[in-house]
């Protein structure tokens, strides 16, 4: 694959560095790009993802804001409508609750409502993922909400390579894009090309080829699914792992084709399971591969509970390689 060729020429960097590089390169390329958020400048965010950017670009382009999520999202909408390309930093995905009006009633609808005249080229970067012992208000994965709204694009990178390429695409896109980063992944390393590259939206990535079952995964659950595939290998089950990469636009063709080939599919995501993104993806596959499937499409999301603090409780709420492998095995009729 082209990707392989590219990556061999690259360097191993962390997911956090990939984000940082994407921002730095885009800010160098285009003076209209700027960052607005809480503790983004000297602190470089609590996750240190933006470290160093303020040094290169100054406090005028890496702007520390008050703790005003709705306000900063709204300001970015206005800036985007008038010639800038803002990147707003919403520290925890749980605070998405505070920006819904600006993202959904304003950013998402402006282009359409104006008959195509106004555009809102902004990116909202935020986080998802549990198991950090951060409890119910700092552990949610709320990408399903944004995926539901026409006018928004939603990106869920699962590797440093994808993170960098997809973030550059997001910044160059003329629409509001919501970009979710898994907090637990920031320190994971992966090979990333030295030269400029972008990854198109709406193209799922087969992260591992297989023939007995398709594991469709997003973000944090891609790695979990790859590990599950390893476990399944030992039971002689060959799992294909497909990373959707963007829930909107969704690469239905690749997902359906994979399920048609393997005849079985399990969709894994870290958002709450009920009414979550696994429901849409499973429906699409169950419909598109109906005449090929040997078993119902199954789904695994986070347990439908507010994320508990206690480690013994929290660890049960998120799919693990073992639980994914077990469900997959059952689905293949091998228990």
């Amino acid at each position: 694959m082209a990707k392989q060729a590219q990556t061999t020429a690259g360097r191993a960097i962390t997911f956090a560095q990939a984000i940082n590089e994407a921002l730095a390169e885009e800010m160098r390329r285009d003076p209209k790009v700027f960052i607005l958020g809480e503790d983004v400048a000297e602190a470089g965010t609590p996750f240190k993802v933006l470290s160093g950017l303020v040094k290169e670009f100054g406090k005028e382009r890496v702007i520390d804001s008050p703790i005003s999520e709705a306000g900063i999202a709204g300001i970015c909408v206005g800036a985007a409508m008038t010639g800038m390309r803002p990147v707003v930093d919403i520290m925890f995905g749980d605070f998405a609750t505070l920006v819904m009006d600006q993202m959904v009633n304003q950013a998402a609808k402006t282009h359409y409502m104006s008959g195509g005249k106004l555009t809102v080229p902004m990116v909202m970067r935020t986080t998802l993922g549990a198991t950090r012992r951060s409890a119910a208000q700092h552990s949610q994965s709320l990408h399903a909400w944004f995926s539901h709204i026409p006018g928004l694009k939603v990106v869920l990178p699962a590797t440093p390579y994808d993170a960098k390429g997809l973030l550059k695409t997001a910044i160059r896109d003329d629409n509001p894009v919501v970009f979710f980063e898994d907090k637990m992944m920031y320190q994971q390393k992966g090979v990333v090309p030295a030269q400029d590259y972008t990854i198109p939206f709406g193209v799922a990535d087969v992260k591992r080829a297989g023939k007995d079952i398709t594991l469709v995964a997003t973000s944090s659950m891609v790695e979990v699914s790859l590990k599950a595939a390893e476990i399944l290998q030992a039971s002689n089950i060959s799992a294909e792992v497909v990373d959707v990469r963007t829930t909107v636009p969704l690469d239905k063709e690749t997902l359906i084709a994979s399920a048609q080939k393997t005849t079985r599919a399990l969709v894994v995501d870290e958002g709450y399971e009920r009414y979550g993104v696994t429901a849409e993806i499973a429906s699409v596959i169950a419909d598109g591969a109906f005449y090929y499937l040997d078993a119902p499409v199954k789904r695994m999301g986070a347990m439908d509970v507010p994320v508990p603090f206690s480690p013994v409780l929290e660890d049960q709420t998120v799919p693990t390689p073992e639980s994914v492998a077990e469900t997959a095995r059952k689905l293949c009729g091998k228990m």
Binding site: T82, Q106, S114, G115, G116, K117, L118, D174, N175
Partner: protein, 320 residues
């Protein structure tokens, strides 16, 4: 002082809004307009006074009661009517309607059906102007009801911190829909901006000359990078909250309405002044009126005869 040519221009603009809105009401009563509309009648001096003080490339954001702001910023009558009727020739190809007309070419970033929803947009436009190194200014129009929305305070804080060229323009017409503002507004309105160190002015919003002069001063201030300001204009909507709000005695005394219409009608007040100052006579004004009435009529006719958008447009322009 404002020269007489300008005053005459103000008069034309205010009358345009007045007659436009009366026509909107007729379209509604005649069941020619889909949905509802919130008429700006009674508040014309605010939009005109402010927008006449702005440059074409300055920005405004508007509200559900936005036709006046839109016209004052220079929108064309025919394209506005077309939008209100959901026609393809409308400003938004019929997709926005009354509550979402935007007119990008004249810096109107759009009406907004979320009360207070444009505070971020206006403030962001001001930040953008500053970052791009232009001296554009943004005016954020909102009703006193928007003072209930937290977003406004978040944005005023940032505008003050970063000295952004934005003017928060509060039109206090005394009612949040069907509730008197005194029941929803504690303390003072000015205090809401002063808390953030934002200078405020409070004026009679029915006096277009006063609005123009005050707005000019604050706009100049913003243009010179001296930061945001807050302008409170006391005004009144002569009609119901929307075109369908006919029986309103339960929330607003008829006498109050009559008093405003008689003594504080901004169009009448300006007409009287023009005549009193011998700038023009009544006959001249009658001529102006029939001229504008003609424009309004032909604009409405254009819209009534204009085609609807093609059905296939429904899923166009969801994404840029």
């Amino acid at each position: 002082m404002v020269d007489s040519d300008k005053l005459l221009r103000f008069y034309r603009q205010m009358l345009k809004i007045r007659l436009f809105e009366e026509q909107v009401n007729q379209l509604y009563l005649g069941a020619k307009m889909p949905g509802l509309a919130h008429l700006y009648i009674g508040q014309e001096a605010v939009a005109v006074g402010v927008c006449e003080a702005l440059r074409a490339d300055d920005y405004i954001t508007s509200t559900h009661r936005g036709h006046g702001h839109c016209l004052a910023k220079g929108a064309a009558i025919d394209k506005m009517f077309a939008e209100l009727l959901g026609k393809a020739d409308g400003y938004c190809r019929g997709k926005g309607g009354s509550m979402h007309i935007a007119d990008q070419e004249r810096g109107n970033l759009g009406a907004n059906a979320i009360v207070g929803g444009s505070a971020g947009i206006a403030t962001g436009a001001a930040l953008s102007a500053k970052m791009r190194g232009t001296d554009q200014v943004a005016v954020c129009f909102f009703g006193e009801g928007a003072l209930g929305q937290g977003l406004l305070y978040e944005c005023m804080n940032m505008a003050a911190l970063w000295k952004l060229p934005v003017i928060y323009l509060c039109e206090n017409n005394m009612y949040n829909e069907y509730t008197h503002y005194s029941e929803t507004t504690a303390g003072t309105i000015e205090g809401r901006a002063q808390a953030f160190g934002i200078p405020t002015e409070t004026i009679e919003g029915q006096d277009v000359e006063l609005v123009y002069r005050t707005a000019s001063k604050l706009i100049e201030r913003a243009r010179k990078s001296d930061g945001p300001s807050f302008l409170l204009c006391n005004t009144y909507r002569f009609h119901g909250h929307h075109v369908g709000d006919i029986d309103r005695a339960y929330y607003r005394p008829k006498k109050e309405e009559e008093e405003w219409k008689e003594r504080r009608d901004p169009v009448k007040l300006l007409a009287d002044k023009l005549v009193r100052s011998e700038i023009v006579d009544r006959q001249f004004l009658a001529g102006t009126e029939s001229e504008i009435a003609g424009e309004i009529k032909s604009g409405a006719d254009f819209a009534l005869n204009a085609p609807y958008p093609d059905a296939t447009e429904v899923d166009q322009d969801v994404y840029a």
